[in-house]
């Protein structure tokens, strides 16, 4: 048997307390409909009880409350996880990093015009950087790269990536490296002779979850030689 309890919620609303979802339903509906539903429900229950045994009735009720609880638990868990992710992502804003970097062009290995007319240059770089302050508890990794940036008559901006690295942990975020360019430094055209360019250290912070951050340090005053070699 299903017990039907009537309770006064407010002066003109009556809630059913048999099962939580029913309570929810009935609160949303005006009183007279509600009472009608109650009557209907009563009649229906009587009918059902005539036809089916009590045990089946009891089972369905149990299943329902289990499903209801599982649903509530899942919703709650997902909400908590989402909230924690959001807080973790927001907490990144509290960090004010102060990274430092220095890049030297040690050598121009070679400098030539390709057969189809584009200038290409090969450099050896000396990179020293301390990026430890970029790491927070929500940092999965740091992607850093060095780009040569310059202007040509044709292009308002050229960014050519020369070298990149993934820094997985704070311990390895302070480094000094001597390397030639990993990616080819090729111009669109032949404008590189005597060209002044910036070397920019970019970093992209990849979080464990949430928003990605990016910033850069621009180092200017580099110049390529006047002649091919």
């Amino acid at each position: 048997m299903i017990l039907i309890l009537k309770a006064r919620v407010s002066s003109n609303q009556i809630a059913l307390l048999t099962e939580p979802w029913l309570q929810f339903n009935s609160i949303l509906k005006p009183t007279n409909k509600n009472e009608k539903q109650n009557k209907n429900k009563n009649k229906k229950n009587e009918n059902e009880n005539n036809k089916t045994s009590c045990s089946i009735n009891g089972n369905t009720k149990k299943m329902h409350s289990f499903g209801y609880r599982a649903n509530a638990l899942l919703t709650f868990a997902v909400t908590i996880v989402a909230l924690m992710c959001a807080i973790a992502s927001l907490s990144d804003n509290l960090n004010t990093p102060s990274p430092t970097a220095e890049i030297q062009v040690v050598n121009i290995n070679w400098f030539q015009k390709q057969t189809h007319g584009n200038d290409e240059v090969s450099l050896t770089l000396n990179i020293t950087a301390d990026l430890q302050s970029l790491f927070t508890w929500n940092t999965k990794q740091l992607f850093i790269f060095i780009a040569a940036e310059y202007k040509t008559p044709k292009n308002a901006l050229n960014q050519v990536s020369l070298w990149d690295a993934i820094i997985p942990a704070k311990e390895s975020a302070k480094f000094s490296i001597h390397t030639s360019n990993k990616y080819r430094f090729i111009d669109q055209g032949h404008n590189l002779r005597g060209k002044e360019f910036n070397l920019t250290l970019h970093w992209h912070v990849m979080p464990k979850t949430g928003k990605m951050f990016a910033n850069k340090i621009v180092m200017s005053g580099y110049r390529l030689p006047e002649e091919y070699r």
């Binding site: 979802w21 999965k140 790269f145 292009n155 990536s161 990149d164 993934i166 990849m206 990016a214």
Partner: protein, 179 residues
């Protein structure tokens, strides 16, 4: 006899009413999902504001099954950004990092991309003879990241049986829940 007919009548009307309520609430769920999706499209300006990473080419940053939130703004594309692009003749968009940018005076842009975990750049993935990506190839740039959640869609697309079981179970639940 009178009251039996009466009660049957009332049960029938109840069932119709319940059926209608269920249909309406189901419709509400579907439409609110659609509203959220379209709303995100408007806010982000991207055709698909949320994408699932399918390959390991951006590891260890993005793994298979991670979710990326895209944003498409008028801001110029710069080196280092992670963009989602469509190559002519390929159906599935690719998520890779921009490594070279050549921007003309009038704003036209040539872009070269590379996956962090790939050895070489993406020219092999582009259409035959294509050296650069232009603005119109790019669908958006990744701005946010959520791990693991995309596995649900990967599993559902790769094992359709699970999808049907899930849909069936949910449907059964909807039908049976309000007896």
């Amino acid at each position: 006899m009178g009251w039996i007919g009466d009660s049957i009548e009332s049960i029938r009307s109840m069932q119709i009413r319940q059926f209608l309520t269920q249909a309406v609430s189901l419709g509400m769920i579907v439409t609110s999902a659609l509203i959220i999706w379209k709303g995100l499209m408007c806010i982000t300006g991207s055709e698909s504001p949320v994408v699932v990473v399918l390959s390991g080419s951006m590891e260890p940053g993005f793994k298979r099954g991670d979710i990326l939130f895209l944003h498409m703004s008028k801001d110029p594309i710069r080196a280092g950004e992670i963009v989602v692009f469509n190559v002519d003749g390929r159906e599935i968009p690719i998520v890779h990092r921009v490594i070279k940018v050549h921007e003309r005076q009038d704003g036209e842009v040539d872009v070269l991309t590379k996956g962090d975990n790939n050895y070489g750049d993406d020219r092999l993935l582009y259409a035959q003879g294509q050296l650069w990506l232009q603005r119109h190839h790019i669908m958006g740039r990744a701005v946010g990241f959520l791990p693991y959640v995309g596995w649900v869609t990967i599993i559902m697309t790769e094992k359709p049986i699970i999808k049907y079981i899930l849909i069936g179970a949910l449907g059964l639940l909807v039908i049976t829940s309000k007896d």
